[in-house]
Amino acid sequence: MSITFKNVSYEYAPNTPFAYGALKDVNVSITSHKVTAIIGATGSGKSTLVQHLNALLLPTVGEVEVLDRVIKANEKPKKLKELRKNVGLVFQFPEYQLFEETVLKDVAFGPLNFGLSKEEAIEKAKIALDIVGLSEEYYEKSPLDMSGGQKRRAAIAGILAIDPDVLVLDEPTAGLDPQGSHAMMELFIQLNKMKNKTICLVTHDMEHVFNYCENVVVIDKGQVIYSDSVENFFNNEEMLNSLTIELPKVIQFKRLLRKKGFTIDHTSKTLEEIIPQVVAQRGDVHE
């Protein structure tokens, strides 16, 4: 049960002078139980793409298969609630969706909407808040009185409390400090490893793609131009050169070493793996 886009196009404001094609004939699959990164320049259509995953946007042309549902163009889908329970979408800067008086109430809002009883919803909310690292002392706080990072955590907990199988995140670490964004990424990886959730995230940070993700989808001007494993992606020199991205430090380091005449294994991902190779090839003095 993966997610598949078949010839999907999407146009904003069709039949008006402002019509704008955001997706053009997109064919891509997102594998279940993996962490997939969606990357691309601003305005390339990443956000439009992810909004198709829980049918917030419906394709103008083509069809999207999500779990056991097929969403076709020109067909009004029914029972979207069910789909949205299974695919949780966290928007960019999700802290703006907080509205309840207390954090606990706000996080319980999602599960309540999906038909859980009040007690169950509160229970789910507490679990979700625990996952994002907001302890009991925050339960009765107003979400508006918290710091930016805490708000972000509370908002993400609001989606986690729904306990979706697929978690889609649109730039979840934007505007967070390095430590906070690292912790946030760790959290998603844990969810993937422990609870076997499919994670799909939009990001600009190649370090995150390199360190945390398994697959990568590259989107440019509304078209998917590349889709493969992260390892293959960072070894595809041609592809990397055609994109204006800042490569992860390790990849940059490997490139520099190769320029100096060293042969570095394609699979090595850490300094610990690279250093012995360099030492072996120099085969002299040091150590």
Binding site: A13, L89, V90, F91, Y96, Q97, F99, I159
Partner: protein, 266 residues
Amino acid sequence: MNNIALGRYLPLNSVVHKLDPRFKIIGMLILLVAIFLPAGFYGYGFLTLFIGSVVMISKLSFKFIIKAMKPMMLMLVFLMVINIFVLRTGYVVFDIFGFLIYSDAIFQTLYISIRLLLMIMVTTILTATTKPLDLTLGIEDLLAPFKRFKVPAHEIAMMISIALRFIPTLIEETDRIMKAQASRGVDLAEGKLKEKVLAILSLIVPLFVSSFQRAEDLADAMEARGYVPTNKRTRYKQLKRTLKDIIMLFIVVFVLASVIAMVVLL
């Protein structure tokens, strides 16, 4: 949400687009006066013809005008219903199972509809052919003579231009929050009344919070740039009147005069 046509500027290239906003505003006011005269059948026919041809000259499509009309449709239906129940003069046109519908009710509704249609056409011509910023400059200039009576012309213009500037932003924001809450299971279409109230609340509270935040940020940014509303300031963009503006004004005055003539003579 992005399909709102009312009050939207359309960047086309026509004679009407190039007219001086001050003259366009005056022209619009004159036409509005003409529309509100009890001009009768011929008068409204004449006005419709005139305003329709201005729409054509502005290169606007009638589809766009109809789209701008859409939000008013409900109001028109409402008016129609009230008129049918309240106005009981004239002769009986329909007799539906003993319920009588009188001619005056129908004519009254028709007059109001045509007036509304013309009003929307005229105002749409103004807003669709004039950049919001030019519009506020025009308003500021037109209000300038009233400064003597302590009318804060510049402040009013600034408020209007800020309000106009933030309409698209707010629409975008609303759209975003709606989607975010939809992802959390909010369904504005279905559900019990209590759920619906909560759904609307989940939309309005974040919208207010971010609006206040934006307002505060904007105020700070303006202050940081040394903005003081009462200071005398020069303007980068100068409005210029041309011969075309004078001609336009003459035509509009002529239209008003003809409608008055029709009211008096016919």
